[in-house]
Amino acid sequence: MNRIMSRWLPAYAFLYIVFLYLPVIFLPIFSVNTSAVPQFPLSGLTTKWYEELPNTPALLDAAWNSLIVGVAAAVLSTILGICAARAITRYRFRGRTAINGLIMAPLVLPEIIVAISLLIVLLQLGFSLSLFTVVLGHILICIPYSMTVLTSGFEGFDRSLEEASADLGESAFGTFRRVTLSMVAPAIISSLLVSFTISLDEFILAFFLAGTDATLPLYIWGQLRFAAKLPGVLALGTLLLVGSFLLVTIAEVIRRRAARRTQNEGGAIV
């Protein structure tokens, strides 16, 4: 049994990885193809699809919108996440587990249901759809990620460090700034990067909640109707893929370094 396992396990793992990542690899491959039709054999290599990207005003608008939404969602969800993570790691109160569960729930809720519900509620409240409503939706789905990263930053934080600071004459605010924030700074940066990445790639909520201003995923969705635009989309997709991968990698490196400092492992999301 063990021998069979040891022979087939590597094969299984290989197939699994191929299935998972092969389609992703096609993206950059076809984005440098001279032909607009994504098909082998490649007709030739070119960077023209990339060169066209900066000359597309609608794309630049969408990128700018995504940047605004991403930064706003990242900052707000991280601020809310700091408050929640500190409360949940520091204090023992009634309903603590339930509240933690409710905050994390958007991770597993069907996103389309959340999007429709939010749309109905926001319209009922008299909001007109705009980038602002997209930000609200993105905060909702970013907070679970922020919480995961920040909780691991706050956990294992020796409370006597804050007492030592107070004992040495520092005020409550000074202690928060000089000890607490300084020590969880890596987790905060990590939370900002992860939230930004989530917001940047998010489609369904943006689709329902955006007004006339498109974010990048919405722009891509719109372009897919035109076969001739496909290589441009592939090029853009490749850039997004690389960017997201880099951001999440940086976030995880920072988070691990911080975790090592407070002797705490856990809360990894990638």
């Binding site: 020796d158 006597s160 007492e163 600071s165 107070a166 004992d167 040495l168 000890v179 020590m183």
Partner: protein, 362 residues
């Protein structure tokens, strides 16, 4: 050390619901004194220390530091500094930054701040390690950084919460000597919380022994050890033979007792003795009973038979059965006269000084 009180604890009680972590504590600690709060875990010693530091507040009663009432004064505005049990070294700062942490708020000029940090590092023998990262330190070094960080603030009172408990035995004994020397050099009032009786005895000017939220006895180390006020105190500070004694007479400060093994003894009346009890407890430390060899004679002797012998290197413990005593006596004797060769079952005579017998409240 002066006679001026630096800390006064007036009827301080700390309750958590119906549980009293500290029950009506009264204590006066002098300026420049090395004072220990000694007791088993849960006796309220740490609770009391944390209330002096300002991390916790009394349910009733009041605390005075240098004549000032501390009610409503937060930890960051008290003239105390603390060495934490975990040391609480800031891991994101280096040694120098840890030590200068509290000075930053004082807005000293750069030269003065640097001078004080270096002086503090020198006091704890860490000269030249200012740039070392906090996570690269050994346990002993972390403790020294915690000390320097507190001393650099020049507090009126330094509070030490079990500072040596995380160190190994050798280092602990070395630090006991160093801490005592440091306290005498700086002349600041030190308050040490410990559950280690030898640590308290070796370092302190005075000790308060605590049990179950109450202060059982406050006195100098020799007095606490030789004249424990209660059975509990005697038991907590090393071995003690307890003998049941009938009260014959009470005369002012003295008490006359009758025991089966030691006969009639007149000794100091224990502080907690109510005065009308028919019986009390008499105690004698195992090392105050001496083995009488061959024709050696003592003025006061008690005879018995060795029933057990335990070898501990520099000393031997003998367990001696004495007719009339409900429990056998424990005797410790240094091995330079061959106490480790006394056979089990041998008859033995033990000499003692009646002054070594101490009456205790139960």
């Amino acid at each position: 050390m002066s006679d001026r009180p630096m800390i006064e604890i007036r009827n301080v009680t700390r309750s958590y619901g119906s549980f009293k972590a500290l029950d009506d504590a009264k204590l006066s600690i002098r300026e420049g004194e090395f004072f220990s709060l000694l007791g088993p875990s849960g006796c309220g010693k740490t609770t009391l220390l944390r209330m002096i530091a300002g991390f916790d507040n009394p349910t009733s009663g009041s605390i005075f530091i240098d004549g000032q009432p501390m009610a409503g004064i937060a930890a960051n505005r008290r003239p105390t500094n603390m060495v934490f049990q975990s040391y609480a070294i800031f891991p994101h700062l280096n040694v120098g930054e840890n030590v200068s942490y509290g000075l930053k708020r004082l807005k000293l000029d750069a030269g003065e701040e640097k001078r004080r940090v270096e002086e503090a590092l020198e006091q704890v023998s860490l000269t030249g390690l200012g740039k070392r990262g906090a996570t690269e330190l050994s346990g002993g070094q972390r403790q020294r950084v915690a000390l320097a960080r507190a001393l650099v603030m020049r507090p009126k009172v330094l509070l030490l919460d079990e500072p040596l408990s995380a160190l190994d035995k050798k280092l602990r004994e070395q630090m006991q000597v160093e801490l005592r020397r440091l306290q005498q050099a700086v002349g600041i009032t030190f308050i040490l919380v410990t559950h280690d009786q030898y640590e308290a005895l070796a370092m302190s000017d005075r000790i308060a022994v605590m049990f179950g939220g109450r202060i059982a006895q406050v006195d100098k180390p020799q007095e606490i050890y030789q004249r424990p006020a209660t059975r509990q105190v005697a038991d907590f500070l090393g071995g003690m033979n307890f003998v049941k004694a009938d009260v014959v007479a009470v005369n002012g400060e003295t008490i006359t007792l009758e025991t089966l093994g030691f006969g009639r003894i007149t000794t100091a009346k224990p502080a907690g003795f109510s005065g009308n009890g028919a019986s009390t407890t008499l105690g004698i430390r195992p090392e105050r009973l001496r083995v009488m060899w061959d024709d050696e004679k003592a003025k006061h002797e008690i005879a018995g038979k060795v029933i057990e012998r335990h070898y501990f290197g520099e000393i031997t413990q003998l367990v001696v059965n004495v007719d009339g005593l409900e429990k056998p006596l424990s005797v410790t004797e240094t091995n330079d006269f061959g106490a480790d060769d006394i056979p089990v079952g041998a008859p033995i005579r033990l000499g003692y000084d009646p002054d070594a017998l101490v009456a205790m409240a139960d």
